[in-house]
């Protein structure tokens, strides 16, 4: 829809943040000098934090889409810890910290309060990490979906409980080493066949809007947030945010990793309305999963002198399955 596919500035295509040759209406929020910087400088996220990036992209876009009328509810997790060590805050939006598990419920309450006040211009966003979303806050989230509360819930998925020292979550990928799934024994790392796919679960609630996004595709992410803010009712956005510390990756590789996750098929980008997939972003330059895995120490035990070809092949099959299921290659 408003993804500017028609832009043909060949130095950039649609892939860079901006370009001096673009007209005002084709510019991304992030290229604007007037962007909110919702999550401001001085926050204490690690070098190269994907979650800090994802949160600014998303909330800045929501601010533009709503004429700056956004209230954020934040679960406990990295995003809260690095942005608001009391009494200091990085947030340039009204922001409430709830508990680890109840952001969705608190956001539903804020939305109800707005309704009671007769304000339909102020929009509510709940946000949290994958631990707070897929595990601890899952009940509240499902309730919010089921009641179709007018909230956009954003999950910043860094694939583990990062803020408390990299423990496994139900979004941790198989074979990944975390503090609770060490690279030891006959089946090192996180086991295969467990975990949850919350975007698909959200779709099963048949809510108006579900989408996945990534910090590697900024224009796509902004377009999805914009679209979500044009819809009323329960909405869910799952954003892929690499974590240099937890993944053991180089801080400069954050966006590259997010890109490789998409291009390998491990992280499909799609949108769904009322439970049906309505669009997907096809893979532009396909890569094998090893390109992605090798840049991360959490998968180092798969490589080394005798590569674990069985597990690598299993992960490749997951990627291939996504490619087939979502039609990621034309």
């Amino acid at each position: 829809m408003d993804q500017p596919q028609t832009i043909k500035y060949y130095q950039t295509g649609t892939f860079t943040v901006g370009n001096r040759l673009l007209s005002e209406d084709q510019r991304s929020v992030q290229s604007g000098m007037e962007r909110t910087n919702s999550l401001n400088s001085g926050h204490r996220a690690c070098q190269g934090c994907g979650e800090a990036l994802g949160a600014r992209y998303a909330i800045d876009a929501a601010m533009r889409a709503t004429g700056n009328k956004v209230i954020c509810v934040n679960a406990t997790g990295c995003l809260e810890v690095f942005s608001t060590p009391y009494p200091e805050t990085s947030w340039q939006v009204p922001w409430i910290h709830s508990l680890f598990g109840n952001a969705a419920a608190v956001a539903s309450g804020v939305a109800a309060a707005q309704r009671a006040l007769g304000r339909d211009d102020v929009r509510v966003i709940a946000q949290g990490g994958d631990g707070g979303t897929t595990d601890i806050g899952f009940g509240c989230l499902s309730g919010m979906f089921e009641r179709n509360d007018d909230v956009l819930y954003i999950c910043y998925d860094n694939e583990a409980y990062m803020n408390t020292g990299v423990q496994r979550s139900s979004a941790t990928p198989p074979a990944a080493r975390t503090a609770t799934t060490p690279a030891l024994g006959p089946e090192p790392g996180n086991v295969f066949g467990t975990g949850k796919n919350v975007p698909l679960i959200a779709m099963a609630h048949r809510i108006p809007y579900v989408a996945t996004a990534s910090v590697a595709n900024l224009r796509d992410l902004e377009a999805k947030v914009t679209r979500a803010m044009q819809i009323r009712g329960a909405r869910y956005l799952h954003i892929f945010v690499p974590c240099p510390l937890g993944w053991g990756s180089a801080s400069e590789d954050t966006i590259r990793l997010a890109r490789l996750a998409v291009e390998s098929g491990l992280y499909p980008l799609f949108e769904a309305r009322h439970g049906k997939v309505t669009s997907r972003t096809t893979i532009r330059r396909p890569v094998p999963v090893t390109d992605y895995l090798k840049l991360q120490k959490r998968f180092a035990h798969l490589f080394g002198k005798a590569p674990d070809t069985v597990r690598i092949a299993q992960i490749q099959r997951m990627a291939d399955q996504n490619i087939a299921d979502f039609g990621l290659i034309e």
Binding site: K8, Y9, Y10, Q11, T12, G13, T14, F15, T16, V17, G18, N19, R20, L21, S28, Q30, S31, M33, T36, N37, N40, S41, G42, H43, R44, A45, C46, Q47, G48, C49, G50, A52, L53, R56, M63, G67, N68, V70, I71, S83, P87, E88, T89, S90, W91, Q92, V93, P94, V122, L218, P244, A250, S251, E252, D253, T254, I255, R256, R259, R285
Partner: protein, 542 residues
């Protein structure tokens, strides 16, 4: 700035927390040398002028271009474009059509009458330029820009050198050449034609010149010893092509054989075809791979029906006017060796295209001058062994192309200027090369090269109309925008957008960016996501 809705925070904001203190490396905006600029013999700032062309500002693009090369419309037709051979985009899909955009700009300048700006002040020095070929014209232009009074003495009736008396019209229309020469003259360069310099020392003394630049080219066709009868019609390529410019066209006949394998051989053969020869055969001693002529020109010649006999040499011309040719084989080192196997070829004329020698008569008696292998030796500053006498182009050791000649002219002008001022010129140190390893090519859209149209074959072989046409405004713009802007920021805003710490300050259109080192944690994302390699990480100063 108005605060967004319900914002109250200022005191207690995280801005008090200077996270830049965490940094061990810091990003630095740099300009790297694009491989195209690096490969251009005329030292053009290609990425620099494409940058303006991309926004549709063709005049500014042209002005940046002519800072280094005053002949863009000519270059856009005859330059063999080594820039494109080294263009980074060639490793993605196809090289940027630099040469076609250059031609577009050159033609646009002629069409719109863009003129050079005369110098703002006169230096009071007088410089003599001998020869109005590309090298002489380029030197004259640059010397004039530096404020010197320049006189070009040219032996021929018109300026241009080999561009006029060698390169055929179907590759370089003469009105284009005339327009670019006229623009240089309009700047205040004095051009004297039919003014052959017989002795350089005398001419300098007589004219009161403070320095001279020699660019007399290489015009004497090389001969090979071929036994021939009385009646044999043996011509040399340079004379044939030169005569094409005069009233009396050379008589070549219906069956023309050309001996040689360079661009000149192709030009003569293609010219012969256009003059009505039913057959134009090139006889070359080696194979196609070993041919020094450029592939594109060979291709065009073959399309036009020029035939080539590979691995063949000419042994003698019989009295009856036929040629005895011998088959050759390449030895292990790639040298052609005779086989003894011969054959007879009918020919009305044989044109030798075996290279050119330099006529050095004007240098007779100049002390200090050094000639080796038939060419004049120059130092790194283009000065000959005689103080104040500089030389360039085909008459000095180098590759013989128009662009190299233009480059020599520019380089010599800078050194002559320094010499006249009693100083030395030292060029700015070159930036580090922007190789493909410095780029993040993910960000560039796929865009195939725009090909220049050619006139149809039928018209190509019987007229001297220009074979290759130019781009029009829309596809010139498309082509310019295919440039990756290697090593130089093109304001894509990526660094500004991808910094997790908002530590990049956008300064506004045309002003690029700055780092806010109070908050930059030194993660390096801006560096790895800059498409064109315009940022690098450097150690934090201690």
């Amino acid at each position: 700035m108005d605060k967004p809705f319900a914002i109250t925070l200022d005191p207690g904001s995280s801005l008090a927390n200077k996270t830049g203190a965490w940094r061990t490396l810091r990003p630095l905006y740099v300009d790297r040398l694009p491989p195209c600029n690096h490969a251009c013999p005329a030292g053009e700032n290609i990425q620099g002028w494409l940058f303006h062309a991309e926004s549709g500002d063709y005049e500014q693009a042209w002005r940046v271009l002519v800072e280094d090369n005053p002949l863009p419309a000519i270059m856009g037709r005859v330059c063999y474009h080594p820039c494109e051979t080294s263009c980074n985009r060639g490793q993605l899909d196809e090289a940027v059509g630099i040469n076609s955009v250059e031609r577009f700009l050159g033609d646009e300048a002629i069409k719109r009458g863009w003129a050079f700006v005369p110098p703002s002040a006169e230096s009071g020095k007088r410089v003599l330029v001998v020869g109005a070929g590309p090298s002489g014209l380029s030197a004259a232009y640059h010397l004039r820009r530096l404020g010197h009074a320049v006189t070009i003495k040219e032996a021929g009736p018109l300026a241009g050198g080999m561009m006029r008396f060698g390169i055929p019209k179907y590759r370089l229309p003469r009105d284009v050449l005339d327009a670019e020469v006229a623009r240089i003259v309009a700047m205040g360069v004095k051009l004297e034609v039919n003014a052959k310099v017989a002795n350089i020392a005398d001419t300098m003394a007589a004219g009161g010149f403070d320095a001279a630049f020699l660019a007399v080219g290489a015009h004497i066709g090389k001969r090979a010893f071929i036994p021939a009868g009385e009646a044999a019609r043996i011509l040399d390529a340079v004379s044939v092509l030169r005569d094409m410019e005069g009233e009396e066209k050379p008589l070549l006949g219906r069956r023309v054989v050309v001996y040689g394998g360079g661009n000149t051989a192709l030009d003569v053969a293609r010219t012969a075809k256009r003059m009505g020869a039913t057959e134009a055969i090139i006889v070359y001693r080696r194979t196609r791979e070993k041919m020094p002529a450029h592939e594109s020109e060979l291709q065009e010649a073959l399309e036009e029906g020029v035939l080539v006999k590979w691995l063949t040499t000419i042994r003698k011309v019989t009295d009856g006017g036929s040629l005895i040719v011998e088959k050759m084989v390449l030895d292990a080192k790639g040298f052609p060796q005779p086989t003894g196997e011969t054959e007879e070829l009918q020919a009305d004329s044989l044109v030798l295209a075996l290279g050119q020698d330099v006529d050095l008569a004007l240098l007779e008696g100049v002390p200090g001058l050094e000639v080796k292998d038939g060419v004049v030796q120059v130092r790194a500053n283009m000065m000959t062994g005689a103080p104040g006498i500089f030389a360039g182009g085909d008459m000095v050791p180098s590759e013989r192309t128009v662009t190299v000649a233009v480059g020599h002219g520019k380089k010599a002008a800078r050194h002559i200027d320094a010499w006249l001022n009693g100083t030395t010129y030292s060029p700015r140190p070159k930036h580090e090369l922007a190789g493909i390893d410095k780029m993040n090519t993910w960000y560039y859209a796929d865009a195939p090269k725009t090909v220049r149209p050619q006139i149809e074959l039928a018209r190509r072989t019987d007229t001297f109309d220009e074979v290759v046409h130019g781009l029009d405004e829309t596809n010139a713009l498309f082509e310019a925008r295919r440039c990756l802007s290697c090593g130089n920021c093109f304001e894509c805003d990526n660094c500004y957008g991808v910094c997790p710490d908002n530590a990049v300050i956008k300064l506004g259109p045309g002003k690029r960016f700055e780092f806010n080192l109070d908050y930059c944690k030194g993660c390096g994302i801006c560096v790895s996501e800059c498409p064109c390699g315009a940022i690098k990480m450097v150690p934090e100063p201690t």
